[in-house]
């Protein structure tokens, strides 16, 4: 049977076919759908769970592998930074049943904070790496990835990119291999990473890495495809597809799918068969520097861009000088469609009020609420990585407070899922070191930006089973914070008074806003807690409206300002009745629809 699958769905299918029994992930574009698909389609055979962060996901997978089950962790590229600590040492310690770590890189940075190239992790750790080019390979290479992991006693890195994750192609299915659990035996010298044990383990890792050269030179994933010998292209992942598209039979290809360690013999053989070598790869000159170090002349980043995707038009421009079509008349006519907080988003009311404050530093985080850094809120002045809002805020507050004349207060803002991810560690730092920032957890009862995943506070697991909903206020109080308030972010008066209260305190405080994401498919708990939410609509009484545009400063996409008559109106298709605009209106022109 053949089906059209995305690369992410193909990995989920592959995990099923190769007998994976345990999978864990933290949501992150473009990797999210791997675990989602496993949870939806294969949870009868594979235990699928969301971890609070990528480090926890990988460690759980390591434990599952030790206990004898083939296991898979999935994360976006920056997620591997979080999981880097177990990752590097796991390379030394090795595995029992196979362990594969999927990293989804983002050439072009569609929705990430950086464009780091995670192939560097493979070389730095001596962990073998696969780079599928399309959906079929995303599934098929997984069989070899697990076999290599077990045969060479090492975890395997599976490097995807956004285009491979999110493109669909035809995939041929196979049956599931039903593998018995590998027996767990106590092997203290293997699993206890102390210097005495890991010094020899490193030697073993190096020896296995050297042995893998043979596999790299001979495996089906690294192959020469001869066309014209005038141009030889060495490439990996989806770049192969783009190169093939542009050059067709006018070039020869060394297509690499297993890229760590690289196949030296095959590279030399290919170099001997072609006249001019181009290295086509996204992000870093990772293949290029290696091949140049082998003494093989080749052309790479001096010709091809170092940033963004190597899509066909980019390659054509680099090699043939063909300009990428640009139409000034169209560019002139276009306007932007910037992302906005949705109508009814619970972040709106909070940031509307926060943005009006003076003498505060707003330390932000990763989520939909990062949009508060833009107009009309301008209520976030730093975001860096998951959980950093609280710790950056803590450091800044300590320094502001070291100057008795400095009255700056820090407000650190992060979402519920980000709080559980790593914000909690940062908040422990605040408690322990007795600083006094104001920490705000925007609890919208779900992980929003990645498309509605459950999290430790939401009360459901990845597979939709009821579980304990961890209470953020209780957790915070357990750390010793005395000043903790839970508020309704749509109630502007309450938000304002709570900010006044927190700023006036000369101690740390934690504010938790609690209202569901407007896009959340509300469960029975939500229906009980937020009865009546999203059922009303507001409308503008245009006889009363004075055209002051204050309502538009809420940034709500449901509000339409009619320039011709200088009056606001509300799109009834979009309004879900959060009432923020009605509270902002100075003349009470915005009223509940009858």
């Amino acid at each position: 049977m053949k089906q059209l699958l995305t690369g992410d769905e193909a990995i989920a299918r592959g995990a099923y076919e190769v007998g994976v029994r345990f999978a864990s992930a933290y949501p992150g574009t473009p990797s999210t759908e791997i675990l989602e698909t496993i949870a939806e389609e294969y949870s009868g055979d594979i235990h699928a769970e969301w971890a609070p962060n990528e480090k926890v996901a990988l460690e759980a997978v390591i434990g599952a592998g030790m206990a004898g089950a083939r296991s898979l962790a999935a994360m976006k590229h920056v997620g591997l930074n979080v999981a880097a600590d177990p990752f590097f040492s796991l390379a030394y310690v090795g595995v029992n049943a196979g362990v594969v770590i999927v990293t989804a890189d983002e050439p072009g940075q569609f929705s990430s904070q950086n464009e780091q190239d995670n192939r560097n992790y493979a070389r730095a750790s001596m962990v073998p790496m696969f780079e599928p080019a399309d959906s079929q390979e995303s599934k098929d290479m997984l069989a070899d990835a697990f076999r290599i992991s077990e045969d060479y006693d090492v975890p395997v890195l599976y490097r995807m990119t956004t285009r491979v994750c999110h493109s669909k192609g035809l995939v041929e299915f196979a049956e599931r291999q039903n593998l018995a659990l590998r027996p767990y035996t106590r092997q203290i010298k293997k699993y206890v990473a102390t210097p005495a044990n890991t010094r020899p383990a490193k030697v073993k890792l190096q020896a296995n890495y050297a042995r893998l050269k043979e596999y790299s030179n001979t495996c089906q994933w690294n192959r020469i495809e001869m066309g014209s010998p005038a141009i030889g292209i060495i490439t990996s992942g989806d770049c192969y597809l783009y190169a093939r598209e542009v050059f067709g039979e006018d070039a020869s290809y060394l297509k690499l799918g297993f890229t760590n360690p690289l196949p030296d013999d095959l590279i030399r053989q290919f170099a001997g068969q072609v006249q001019k070598i181009y290295i086509i790869e996204e992000n870093d000159p990772w293949l290029e520097l290696y091949i140049k170090a082998m003494g093989i002349p080749c052309t790479g980043k001096e010709l091809f861009p170092r940033n963004g995707e190597m899509i066909p038009e980019v390659l054509r421009q680099a090699i043939y000088g063909t300009p990428i079509p640009q139409d000034p008349e169209l560019a002139e006519a276009l306007i932007n469609r910037p992302p906005t907080l949705c109508a009814g988003c619970p972040h709106r009311g909070f940031f509307y009020e926060l943005g009006r404050r003076k003498n505060i530093m707003i330390s932000g985080d990763i989520g939909c609420y990062t949009l508060a850094s833009g107009a009309p809120y301008n209520a976030m002045e730093s975001t860096l990585c998951m959980g950093a809002s609280v710790s950056i805020g803590h450091g800044a507050q300590q320094v502001f407070d070291s100057d008795p004349d400095n009255k700056m207060r820090v407000v650190s803002v992060l979402g519920d899922s980000t709080f559980f991810h790593t914000g909690i560690n940062s908040l422990i730092g605040v408690a322990y070191n007795r600083s006094k920032p104001i920490t705000v957890v925007l609890d919208n009862r779900i992980t929003g930006m990645t498309g509605q995943q459950e999290n430790p506070g939401s009360g459901l697991t990845a597979t939709g089973d009821v579980t304990q909903a961890i209470s953020i206020p209780d957790l915070v109080k357990a750390l010793g914070f005395e000043h903790v308030r839970v508020i309704d972010p749509n109630n502007l008066k309450q938000v304002k008074e709570t900010l006044d209260w927190a700023i006036a305190l000369d101690e740390a405080s934690v504010i938790i806003t609690r209202w569901p994401c407007a896009l959340k498919k509300r469960n029975a708990f939500d229906e009980a807690e937020f009865a009546g939410a999203f059922t009303q609509r507001y409308t503008v009484n245009q006889e009363v409206c004075i055209g002051c545009k204050k309502c538009t400063k809420t940034g709500c996409p449901a509000i339409v300002f009619q320039t011709a008559i200088k009056k606001s109106s509300i799109d009834p298709e979009k309004c879900v009745g959060c009432s923020v605009c009605a509270q902002v209106c100075p003349v009470q022109a915005i009223v509940l629809e009858a």
Binding site: L170, D238, R244, I335, R337, Q452
Partner: protein
């Protein structure tokens, strides 16, 4: 056969995802090699969505190149304009345009103006423009949401894909109670020819 390039463009919630799913299923059943790539912003409501579909005897890249799309289906006018530089540069490209506007926030709050003359800009670059109010047509069929399938029907006709058993593909991919209205929508779209009117 030379690979064909299709682009579907609109905003979240307009049904581009179902339309492209049905399209790729049909192409697959017809025996073509098919690749599809979808680019969308973050998960907020009404973000831009751009879907690339390529089919032929052997397809490598999943993305359509700028200047090489055989046809663009614009579910929303501004997004059609935004991606018009994907259309074939030889004046032979086809554009199916839904006369629908979803205002970006700047237009909503009065700080921006929705571009006019979009159809004229398309006309000047396309070999054929089929502009229609698919939502209005869908409303006449009794379900405004099937406007995406009307647009799919227009695409099927323009690309000469009528031989594929679309009613069966619809039946296999949509909920029972919506099968008939979707099949009607497809037939309606397939019956539209290009009365180019700017």
């Amino acid at each position: 056969m030379q690979t064909k390039n299709i682009l579907l463009t609109g905003v979240g919630g307009q049904g581009t995802i179902l339309a492209s799913k049905l399209l790729t299923e049909g192409l697959m059943q017809e025996g073509y090699d098919v690749k599809m790539s979808e680019v969308h912003g973050m998960s907020q409501r009404e973000g831009p969505v751009l879907t690339h579909v390529r089919y032929g005897s052997k397809v490598y890249s999943p993305v359509v190149e700028k200047g090489r799309a055989d046809i663009i289906i614009g579910f929303e006018e501004l997004e059609a304009l935004r991606n018009l530089d994907y259309l074939r540069g030889d004046g032979q490209g086809i554009v199916v345009l839904n006369r629908a506007r979803v205002n970006p926030i700047g237009v909503q709050n009065g700080s921006d103006f929705y571009p006019d003359k979009i159809e004229a800009l398309i006309q000047a670059r396309a070999g054929k423009l089929l502009a229609l109010d698919a939502s209005e047509l869908a409303r006449h069929l009794g379900n405004v949401r099937v406007m995406n399938i009307i647009l799919l029907g227009a695409l099927v006709r323009q690309m000469g894909l009528e031989a594929i058993d679309w009613p069966a593909i619809i039946a296999a991919n949509v909920k029972e109670r919506f099968i008939e209205v979707n099949q009607k929508a497809l037939a309606l779209g397939m019956a539209l020819e290009a009365p180019v009117q700017a």
